[in-house]
């Protein structure tokens, strides 16, 4: 058994160096050369400043922007570091609500949000993704129905026609891959950037 001790130590160190250092560092080097934009986090710049990542959702509250899904992410309480406070779309601390199907807190939150959205647009059914929190709290997408649902509000705030907005929504809708994988969706940040560009014209 004693002769197993040397391999236990040396082999462990050698394999650690290969899989823990050589492999990730080599991949980082190659990624920087062939996929530089993705490797850095698919960042979007506007006027030379980073406004976010194409893959990471951000919070929109203004009526003139399309809103993303509710987010359950948290941040440390600035007054008491042992506690946490709600901090939607905190991209340094991802997570979901973890409320279960029979949770009263979830039922109350859903009712409040549904009532708010019904008041905003009484003419359409409330899309489920617009009142449920995502798993990561950073979902960049909403369903096409959730985007269409918000068109009247955004049109009013921007003083543009609903038809024009619906066109922008449609051109920013991504379908399923090969018509099969995933779900149809609209990237909220991309949509709002397209809106700002259209308004600037």
């Amino acid at each position: 058994m004693l002769r197993e001790i040397r391999p236990a130590i040396v082999l462990l160190l050698v394999l650690t160096a290969i899989t823990g250092l050589a492999y990730p560092l080599a991949m980082t080097g190659i990624a920087g050369a062939i996929f530089p934009a993705q490797a850095k986090g698919s960042l979007i710049e506007k006027d030379g400043k980073v406004v976010g990542s194409a893959l990471i959702g951000q919070e929109f509250k203004d009526d003139k922007y399309f809103h993303g899904r509710p987010s359950a992410t948290l941040a440390p309480d600035p007054n008491d570091s042992t506690k946490t406070v709600s901090a939607p779309y905190n991209a340094a601390n991802s997570g979901g609500s973890n409320l279960g199907p029979t949770s009263k807190a979830l039922a109350d939150r859903l009712k409040e949000d549904v009532d708010k959205l019904k008041a905003e647009n009484p003419n359409a059914a409330v899309p489920v993704d617009l009142v449920t929190t995502s798993a990561s709290g950073l979902d960049p997408d909403i369903s096409p129905e959730a985007a269409q649902f918000q068109v009247p509000r955004v049109a009013k705030a921007r003083n543009v026609s609903e038809d024009q907005l619906r066109q922008i929504v449609t051109s920013n809708t991504q379908g399923r891959l090969l018509g099969l994988l995933g779900e149809p969706r609209v990237n909220v940040l991309a949509l709002n950037l397209a809106l700002d560009r259209a308004s600037a014209k």
Binding site: K40, E59, P101, G182
Partner: protein, 567 residues
């Protein structure tokens, strides 16, 4: 449920079955030491590694030596992770300035990664440095996966050899698995993941100013290289807190689909390796069929339950299924399928929050783990777990006809059956025992995030997942407390090693036996009757063990939900 949804599920199954044979062929060559197309590049590196570590690749080990070598290897792995986490504040590659990790959390995480569990009591982006992610966690993702495969191969040798004292060399098996199987796939896989949008950088977290003028700190890092082995090695520990639900850890529908395939690929291929090494590939297909029956049944229930939604959603007129805790790009079907896959295998990565699943939708992942993660299972661990059930099923069949049972030419006798029962019984002892403690110990009760039966399920899920070395969670439970850090670590440790040691004892005793040719009285183990028998034994043993616990958790919650109760 939709037609497109079912088409995605069928496509997944077809690709897995198609990959099983070629991957099984390649892996068999690796484990039997034959040349592969990568040998010209890798053979010199392999030989160099043996030379520097003093390994004689010709010298095989007795099952006890093999097991001791494996344990020694893990002691070292534990010390590396624990040391790095405690010292990360003063080590390089820490742009976010993460401080030292607490003793109990470091202990829990180190146990979690050496046992291939990858339970996350740590928060990823908010707790640990890039150095720990790479040298601590990525390396152990490789080695715990390689260990699982090595052990499965040793058990297969037990079946395929006759009258021999040894079961192979642990050092050679681990090295060859890492170099020839895991690393080459991961290199290609990492590049694919980066092309889909996964970050791979050592740079700082990004400071962005959102369109509305708010500040957003975006965590990045060497994500792709870790995610590749996390999925392929059925490890499941995320770079980020939200794991594979995080858009950086699973950017697109395609990355999601490939991640699901990579969880099952090696585990499914090992059934073919088994068939090839015992000399009849149909033996492997029969085992894959047992797994397939249980898998499809689980997918159907979870997909149905999630697409159906909850009473709360129905009361508000919300249709489209239970989207709480799910991502839009995956939707109901890819989230349900992922949840069943990750718990059938011992992966534990999640692309949706299982805690927010419907009662019945979340019960299937729980059952998958309680059955011992034998539906494909963890790389290696799934196969040796399934073979334990096969030993029992054969024993039951032998009792029925009053004949000494035999399997692939080996007599199954008292010693093998005792060892198989020991391994199978130790799991419920851990997860039921600790759950019983967890629901009465006051500080453990305070960790529950949901009230009512769902809170009980959170605790049951935590111990089931850690005992099964899965690592997925009903994540509302606050696991980062002294009580949970220590008790979960003990469940992970016992669940891993008290299954491995009996399995290795079986390997040793089988290898020493003579091989007997099949006769007219031999029970055929390649047909439908055998598949049905094994499925039956699994469900009866499983059902008797954990049905009462399920009745107190998800089943009563489902009934309460239908009655319109909330807690």
């Amino acid at each position: 449920m939709t037609v497109i949804g079912w088409l995605q599920i069928i496509l997944f199954c077809v690709i897995i079955v198609a990959l099983t044979k070629p991957l099984g062929w390649y892996m068999t060559r690796v484990f039997t030491g034959e040349k592969t197309f990568l040998s010209p590049v890798l053979r010199p590196i392999e030989a160099g590694i043996y030379w520097i570590s003093g390994v004689d690749e010709k010298r095989e080990q007795h099952w006890l030596t093999y097991t001791v070598a494996m344990l020694l290897f893990h002691v070292g792995g534990f010390l590396i992770i624990y040391g790095l986490m405690r010292l990360q504040a003063v080590l390089p590659f820490n742009p976010a300035g993460q401080g030292a990790v607490a003793e109990d959390l470091s202990f829990n995480t180190a146990i979690s990664f050496i046992t291939n569990t990858n339970w996350q009591n740590y928060g990823g982006e908010s707790t640990i440095s890039y150095l720990v992610q790479m040298v601590g966690l990525t390396h152990q993702n490789f080695l715990s996966a390689a260990t699982g495969i090595a052990l499965a191969v040793a058990l297969i040798r037990g079946f395929s050899r006759a009258s021999m004292r040894t079961v192979g060399s642990f050092w050679v098996d681990v090295t060859r698995t890492t170099l020839y199987v895991l690393l080459p796939i991961c290199v290609v896989y990492t590049l694919f993941l980066i092309s889909q949008g996964m970050p791979q950088t050592l740079g700082d977290y990004v400071e962005a100013t959102t369109l509305e003028g708010a500040k957003q700190t975006i965590a990045v890092g060497p994500v792709a290289s870790q995610v590749a082995i996390k999925m392929l090695g059925t490890n499941g520990g995320g770079f980020f807190n939200a794991n594979a639900a995080h858009p950086f850890e699973n950017p697109t529908a395609l990355s999601n689909f490939v991640q699901m395939l990579s969880i099952f690929a090696l585990g499914a291929a090992l059934t073919n390796v088994f068939g090839r090494m015992v000399g009849n590939q149909r033996q492997g297909w029969a085992i894959l069929a047992v797994m397939g029956v249980l898998f499809i049944a689980g997918v159907a229930v979870t997909y149905w339950a999630e697409a159906n939604g909850t009473s709360t959603l129905h009361a508000l007129g919300l249709t489209g299924g239970n989207m709480e805790g799910k991502e839009v790009r995956f939707g109901i079907v890819a989230s349900s399928l992922f949840a069943v896959i990750t718990t059938a295998a011992s992966c534990g990565a999640v692309n949706a929050m299982h805690d927010s699943f419907t009662a019945l939708g979340g019960m299937i992942p729980l059952i998958n783990m309680q059955l011992g993660e034998i539906i494909i299972g963890g790389v290696g661990a799934g196969l040796y777990g399934m073979l334990l059930f096969v030993v029992l099923a054969i024993f039951v069949a032998g009792l029925m006809v009053g004949r000494t049972p035999e399997y692939v030419g080996k007599k199954i006798e008292a010693r093998e059956v005792k060892m198989a029962m020991l391994a199978i019984l130790v799991l419920p002892l851990m997860y039921l025992g600790w759950t019983a403690v967890g629901v009465v110990y006051p500080s453990a009760v305070a960790s529950m995030a949901n009230a009512g039966p769902h809170g009980f399920t959170e605790v049951l899920y935590a111990y089931t997942s850690s005992t099964g070395n899965n690592g997925s969670a009903f994540a509302g439970l606050t696991g980062n407390t002294l009580f949970y850090n220590l008790t979960l670590a003990s469940a992970m440790f016992v669940g891993r090693f008290f299954m491995i040691i009996p399995a290795m004892a079986i390997a040793g005793s089988l290898a020493a036996k003579k091989s007997i040719p099949p006769s007219a009285g031999t029970f055929p183990t390649t047909g439908g009757l055998f598949v049905g028998l094994v499925v039956g034994v699994i469900l009866i043993i499983g059902g008797l063990t954990f049905f009462p616990a399920l009745a107190l958790g998800p089943i009563v919650e489902h009934l309460a939900m239908n009655a319109g109760n909330v807690f």
